[in-house]
């Protein structure tokens, strides 16, 4: 509300009588400003809590120059065998986890849809899916590393669970949006439960499901390159080891390779998505 409107309104409204009314009018006119003010106060408070100051930042930038100079030129050669093996491992973890995740999400998505299933079934499924979604894959990774030890198996399990969290939720939403009329017509023909799903439900959601799968693979690939930092297999392990040895030129090489892989994947999945549309 700009100043002019505010003045016009003020002259038109009856003069406030009660104290409560005054307070309400005050908030109606200045509510947004008050919120903004509180927000700025919070930001300043948070900045001071975290010890962020212009001085700290500018010091960082001087330091940053030194760091940047130590990143280049990237060193692809010294650790090439490890790098190649681990990059492939990341890719493989992403492939397998995506497939497992999608396979698990299909039944879970159907079981979690409130328009198809009673709440005794949907409730635990939805709880599991929101648990799987709430935690960053890295956290799930730490737990799996503790449970099954270091290595790609932990990464595989982690990303499978994470995939179920994401596709499962999207799939439930897709199933809950379908037209029940089509489902009812199939039921009315005397079809079995499986056929009702196959002919009444799946045709309505399958096109979107392919998109979900592609999306999940992208996401799994990104995550499988970092899970190694907590010991769950893939290129992240080599990266973190080089970082801790201050071999920054190897770190740089690995990060560049990861960027290349992600960009390549984005390009390919864009293509695939276009084919399926």
């Amino acid at each position: 509300m700009d100043a002019l409107t505010r003045r016009v309104l003020k002259t038109q409204e009856p003069v406030p009588t009660g104290g409560m009314e005054k307070v309400r009018r005050f908030f109606r006119f200045y509510g947004v400003q008050i919120l903004l003010f509180l927000f700025v106060v919070y930001v300043l408070f948070a900045l001071s809590r975290l010890g962020i100051s212009p001085k700290r930042i500018s010091e960082g930038f001087t330091q940053g120059k030194v760091f940047l100079s130590r990143l280049f030129p990237p060193d692809f050669i010294t650790r090439w065998d490890d790098i190649r093996h681990d990059m492939l491992e990341s890719l493989e973890i992403a492939v397998v986890a995506s497939i497992i995740g999608i396979l698990l999400s299909l039944p879970l998505g159907l079981l979690g849809a409130r328009n198809l299933m009673p709440s005794v079934v949907t409730w635990p499924v939805r709880l599991f899916i929101s648990l799987a979604r709430a935690f960053n894959p890295i956290i799930i990774g730490i737990i799996f590393v503790k449970a099954v030890g270091f290595g790609p198996l932990a990464g595989l399990l982690t990303l499978s669970v994470a995939s179920v969290g994401f596709i499962g939720k999207l799939f439930i939403e897709a199933v809950e949006e379908i037209s029940m009329k089509q489902v009812e017509a199939v039921r009315a023909s005397g079809a079995s439960f499986l056929s009702v799903i196959r002919f009444g439900v799946l045709p309505q959601v399958s096109a979107r499901f392919i998109g979900f799968g592609m999306y999940q693979f992208d996401s799994n690939l990104r995550n499988s390159t970092t899970l190694g930092i907590v010991g769950a297999g893939g290129i992240g392990g080599t990266l973190f080891a080089a970082y801790q040895r201050f071999d920054y030129r190897i770190v740089c090489a690995i990060v560049l390779l990861i960027i290349g892989l992600i960009i390549l994947d984005e390009y390919v999945s864009e293509r695939v998505r276009r084919v399926f549309q």
């Binding site: 962020i52 700290r56 930042i57 492939l88 497939i99 709430a134 890295i138 956290i139 730490i142």
Partner: protein
Amino acid sequence: MSENLAKEWKNHVGPKRALKTVFYAIIIAALVVSLRNIEIIPEFLKDTPEQLMDLFRRMWPIDVKFLWGFVAPSILETIHIATLGTIATLIITFPLAVLGSKNIVRNEGIRYVMKFIFVASRSVNSLIWALFYVAVFGPGPVAGVMAIMSRSIGFVGKLLSEAIEESSRNQIEAVISVGAPPVSVFLKGFWPQIRPSFLSIALLRWDINIRETAVLGIVGAGGIGLLLESAIDVFHWPGVAAILLSIFVVVLLAEFLVTNLRKKVI
């Protein structure tokens, strides 16, 4: 029609089935090759459920003292990092997104530079960004804020550019035509059109950033992750449970808040 329908149907589904079969064959092949290369020790896999159950059993009961004494402040720090990181992102990305929009900047070169910045930002995971910033700023939340920002620029930039490109020129021209100065053109013709998307993107990214900040501490960039790592290192499982529970609650609250606020701004 001379052909009968049964034959037509066969010709209709035949190629589709073939295509599907090829598609599944490729997937199965990828699965087999990958599984062969990943060294999975069957005994470990078989052990997994039992090991997990054992872990969860050791987490009970949750360490309440630890929750209030250590987890709560650490969670607050996480929220601060995510929020400040998001705000920094918005401030930096807005001009970049404007420069990256087709309908505003005609120069393709500039747009490509912006696009490159966005892609580079998105391609590097926030944990890796955090590694860099820890090396530069030393361990602590400053590195966390910088990492969250660096990772978010690409996401916000891409979506914001798209929103700007969808804004209509007519409304802007209407404001220009009354002879308004550039600032007014921006405020009255342009900003109202992208405000809903801007707020919505900001909220969405903040929600994601809360989740991502939760792990940055693992490489020393502040927040709850540091506490999680040390609790696990000393096998303090009831404490780990407290941390996981509080992350879960915060993430759910953030999601709830964001879904409701987004409904309001759209």
